[in-house]
Subunit: 406 residues, 2 copies
């Protein structure tokens, strides 16, 4: 493949540079005009800030209604009522799961995400239909983004018949990871739930990404069961916990859990939720970075039967992460940008360098050619402005520019 | 003045209508095509949603750096360090206070705010220079928005010499209200601080808008002193409390304060801040609406020496209010839109109808011709989309369209 020469970009807001990239990674970084001779497709960066591309590591591509007429929210107050509201309505959406997931993934890519981990609901009602819709979206955009799919038992594993078999089929049909959810609150049998999840992971040789909304001591109990199994099965580095609201509190139990999470190299994902006085939800992200814990960011559902929030823009979600963390200092806001880009990449690929406070990785020779150019005086200004005119690069090629897919 | 005929708009997302407006208010609302005969300037609404214009009732136009090169944040962790950081830097801004305030007010109007209450810092260091800059911005946009100015003793009243006299001059020179701030934490003499504020209000016959960041029992104590003076001086309906973080907690003391706030018709303003486990900041807005308490929304500082946040868009701030309140239900999100528009208007003008949960006022015959047309399937969708193509109307005339001032 002909390399691409990105001219006049500022890596992480630093000195203006030219950057030569191939499909396998960054080949050269030099002062403007210094890269000559090699044939290359030239892209003018116009002084924009170069950062690693965004990584959305927690999205539900199967539930989105982005691009369809807006539909008022008919869910109730509980998580279960949301699950059932989706079940009652998803089949009557104006477009198929595949169409909706494809459109939404396209919007995510156009706005800068080229690394994605999507959950795909597998349950007795929808069977593999939602999973297959996400597979179709991945296929449609295979030249534009790398998409991992989690076979996700949203409605539990043991409440309805046949779910373990469906998960098994999904894992033989293209799913990259096995999911799980609130083992106490949904299946109400945490050991049976988690043993099934870890057994499927073990048999298929795949990683795990488990939703843990459970808060307080219940959440810490479920988390402890996850950590216990991660250790026993030698799955260090291959387990992610999504949400992990129980870690938003401050307690000795949280401290002990964080120590084990670091030791077992368990990754965490957050959607930058808004917590409250009675229900804290924010992960202590600076502490996670200090402990070397991998942490990534995601959009969660996007304008779906669960909620009207979410629009595919990971730069905006990065802005929300900084907001929910209460950050005004530039270094802290830019740590959020590092999490929204490289942090998620390291959740997907544990061989990548770990983030730490102040670290700005991802733009050295040999790093993946997964990049975004965004306008702004500084990285913090870019987060605040969220300018829509971006250049998005996947495997060394421009896949979107100025909010449109190529 | 020739009336304006707004064609094909949907009041609060309802049936498509034509709306005839004059400078004094809404003249007629009818089915499309039904208003004929009267000479009028015709504006095509294209099926957009008609809402009251946004009211930013808590902004600091004197501190903004919007439109200037981004400047990293050099403030420390405390409120005092932020005050001093501003003092050390504001004179070296690339443009005058008047220029900066004028630009920022223009951006606010272009995005839909035609009713504004801005604080203008008055202190020993800046004298009346910041206040005069805000006066100049108001004059520059006098045909586009109604702007109230609060003479605001940001650095306290009794810590430095001459502040009461400066406030007195400001109130004789165009300030509409007298401000105050954290009477315990800044001046450290709450009675003396508040007596001076209420005395200035009494002598000049103006209202009061006091910043109360103080939380917990200290904040409730200061609030109680404010309420006591409001009652004693017969100032019901003429006092606003900004932030009022102490009301974000849940306690019998908060309940008693809310009862008195309702009884004395004290208005509250919020900037939709992000609280935390240890420091809750969110006003209980649904409870305020139920109690008939006037509540409005504001941007606070905008990309200034305090923080990089804020961009003049009150529709985005409305979205943040819904986010910080954790709302996903359409009626609750639309209550936020009512607060960001009509709620603030009623903070400025207590003669306007009060909001209550689910109430969607401001678009009846006789209501002010302060209006915005914004795209969206429903009001909730409009809040989620935050489309930049809006029509902004002040005193019956279009003052901005598609993000540009007229």
């Amino acid at each position: 493949m002909t390399p691409t020469l990105l001219r006049n970009v500022r890596p992480w807001g630093g000195e203006t540079s030219d950057v030569l990239i191939g499909d396998d990674g960054i080949l050269e970084v030099a002062r403007p005009g210094a890269i000559v001779g090699a044939p290359a497709d030239v892209i003018e960066g116009d002084g924009g800030i170069l950062i690693p591309s965004f990584s959305d590591v927690h999205v539900h591509l199967d539930s989105t209604r982005m691009g369809l007429p807006f539909r008022p929210n008919t869910a109730g107050d509980t998580r279960w009522s949301h699950i059932m509201n989706d079940r009652e309505n998803w089949r009557s959406a104006e477009r198929s799961v595949a169409d909706r997931a494809t459109y939404t993934l396209g919007r995510m890519i156009a706005q800068g995400a080229t690394r994605v981990r999507s959950h795909a609901q597998v349950d007795a009602d929808s069977g593999l239909e939602k999973f297959e819709g996400v597979l179709a979206a991945r296929a449609a955009h295979r030249e534009r983004a790398a998409v991992e799919i989690v076979a996700f038992p949203q409605v539990g594993i043991h409440l309805e018949d046949g779910v373990p078999d469906l998960l098994d089929v999904a894992l033989r049909s293209g799913a990259d990871l096995i999911g799980g959810i609130d083992p106490c609150e949904i299946d109400r049998d945490p050991v049976r739930h988690l043993d099934t999840v870890f057994d499927l992971a073990d048999r298929h040789g795949v990683g795990i990404d488990i939703h843990l909304h459970e808060g307080g001591s219940l959440g810490l109990f479920s988390l402890d069961l996850v950590l216990e199994r991660t250790r026993a099965l030698g799955m260090a580095g291959r387990v992610s916990v999504s949400h992990a609201f129980s870690l938003a509190a401050r307690s000795p139990g949280v401290d002990r859990a964080l120590e084990q999470i670091a030791e077992l190299d368990v990754a965490l994902t957050t959607i930058a939720p808004k917590g409250s006085l009675s229900v804290p939800l924010d992960l202590p992200i600076e502490r996670l970075l200090s402990l070397g814990i991998r942490v990534g960011l995601g959009m969660d559902g996007q304008r779906d039967y669960w909620s009207p929030w979410g629009d595919g823009d990971m730069l905006e979600r990065t802005w929300m992460l900084a907001f929910t963390q209460g950050f005004s200092r530039d270094d802290l806001i830019e740590d959020c940008l590092a999490i929204g880009t490289w942090g998620g990449a390291s959740v997907i690929d544990p061989s990548l360098a770990r983030l730490s406070p102040g670290a700005r990785p991802g733009l050295a020779i040999g790093d993946p050619a997964e990049l975004v150019v965004v306008r702004g005086d500084t990285p913090t200004a870019a987060v605040m402005d969220r300018d829509a005119d971006r250049i998005v690069i996947h495997r060394g090629r421009v896949v979107a520019q100025n909010d449109e897919l190529r």
